[in-house]
Symmetry: C2
Subunit: 274 residues, 2 copies
């Protein structure tokens, strides 16, 4: 452990932590340097436990004493910054007192996470980091074997996703398709039945479909927040499935709620039976 | 319909729309005047369809033409305000182009929403408006008979709750307990079995508990985002129930995801069986 007081928020050693609320700037900083951010001691510890290598840890002076044990665990520079300087640097009040920058690892190939998997979730274009984080938390908590992301889906290692997931993004096996157009061929080639979650006509209740597919590996596809699945992916599905609605004026669930129910059904013992 | 151009964002006729992002200010304005805000034409139409009486409608000049049919439906003054003035007035860019202020109605008593109800959700101290809105959307969409709120639970008619719920707060029967301490007596007196959602030891899988209680009216209690249910309410429950977790490092779901699964199980045909 190497604790370094940094008085100047413009110090280049703190560059990883610059303007954390500027989504576009952050995307380019994080891509260029191959880093991601973790916030709060619990989430930082989960990243360490999952084997991610820290680039540095940043502690606010106010919380330094309380977080000394975290600093001792980190094999990287530990920067201590005054509270006002942290706010100028990052753009917000880091009330948990700890941020860490980690090296990203190469993502596994889709084939690597699909090997041996039987219950998979495929996210087409979920664009909101909060939703991606919440879906990963549900998937990891309930035991989904793997998540596949379409090329345009939001980044699970973006700070907001990591935070909302409470670090579940570190525990959940996932990969990203590089090809939207033919991306589902990989799943079909491995014998997965493709179920599309959709409120459209002809969709059968999810639980019934899973009972029917009890012996097959299943990939459940979810679409974007506003528009759902693309017609191309819907056309490639073996069946459309739905969560039965009560028929009040409310005709759909938000994507986080729908994904939670989908993960729950997917991972129930005996594939959907109570 | 009475369309009125209002050039000055400080005009007292626009007072209902002042500083919509200032949560504390809004709470006192809305309580004092007995009003709530709806945003976007779809949600505004749902409030009208649910019989709420509008106080006024505010349209941005840019969207006036596209929303003329909405203006025609509203039996209250329609204020048209320039885009820059709207942003100064409300504190944000009203990109949907429509806001409406509605009169609140007296909430029904708990007994009124419980009469004939068999599947009820009780929220103890869910403090976040986004979570309350998402939970109402799931409950209304899946067909929960009633929601009861503890005294400290966030307001379903606060703008953010209304928006996240997509107007489901207008369709979902609910009431608020005035007494936290003895509030569950009303449920017990009406023969409800009280199930507490908790990860604690001794909790049984939710689906199993519901099969067992198939013939009884059930009230499922959910606690706050951080701490879950209070020990007082846990002690009063007939049983603790849990959503089975996969045993990875992720040991819980967020409250929106947990509530979605809970509402789904509560409203399945035959009380939990597939």
């Amino acid at each position: 452990m190497d604790v370094i007081e940094v008085p100047d928020p413009g110090d280049p050693r703190l560059a990883d932590y610059f303007r954390l609320r500027d989504v576009n700037l952050r995307k380019s900083i994080e891509a260029e340097h191959g880093l991601f951010m973790a916030e709060g001691d619990k989430v930082i510890r989960r990243a360490l436990a999952a084997g991610f290598a820290p680039r540095s840890l940043l502690l606010t002076r106010r919380r330094l004493e309380a977080l000394a044990d975290l600093a001792a665990e980190v094999d990287a520079p530990v920067y201590v910054v005054g509270d006002a300087a942290v706010e100028r640097l990052t753009g917000f009040d880091v009330h948990r007192g700890a941020l860490a920058s980690f090296h990203r690892r190469p993502l596994p190939e889709p084939g690597d996470v699909l090997r041996g998997a039987r219950r998979v979730v495929v996210l087409e274009d979920v664009l909101d980091h909060t939703n991606v984080g919440a879906i990963f938390r549900s998937a990891a908590g309930l035991g989904v074997d793997a998540i596949l992301l379409a090329p345009r889906c939001a980044d699970p290692l973006y700070r907001r996703s990591v935070k909302v997931s409470m670090g579940a993004v570190f525990a959940q096996p996932y990969s990203r398709l590089t090809d939207w157009h033919g991306g589902l061929d990989e799943l079909r080639g491995r014998g997965f039945r493709l179920l599309a979650l959709t409120p459209g006509p002809g969709a059968v209740p999810l639980a019934d479909a899973l009972v029917r597919e009890a012996d097959a590996p299943v990939a459940l596809m979810l679409g974007s927040e506003g528009d759902g699945l693309s017609s191309r992916w819907l056309d490639q599905a073996d069946a459309g499935v739905r969560i039965p609605m009560a028929g009040r004026e409310v005709d759909s669930l938000n994507v986080t709620a729908a994904a939670a129910i989908a993960c729950y059904e997917l991972t129930r013992p005996a594939g959907g039976a109570a």
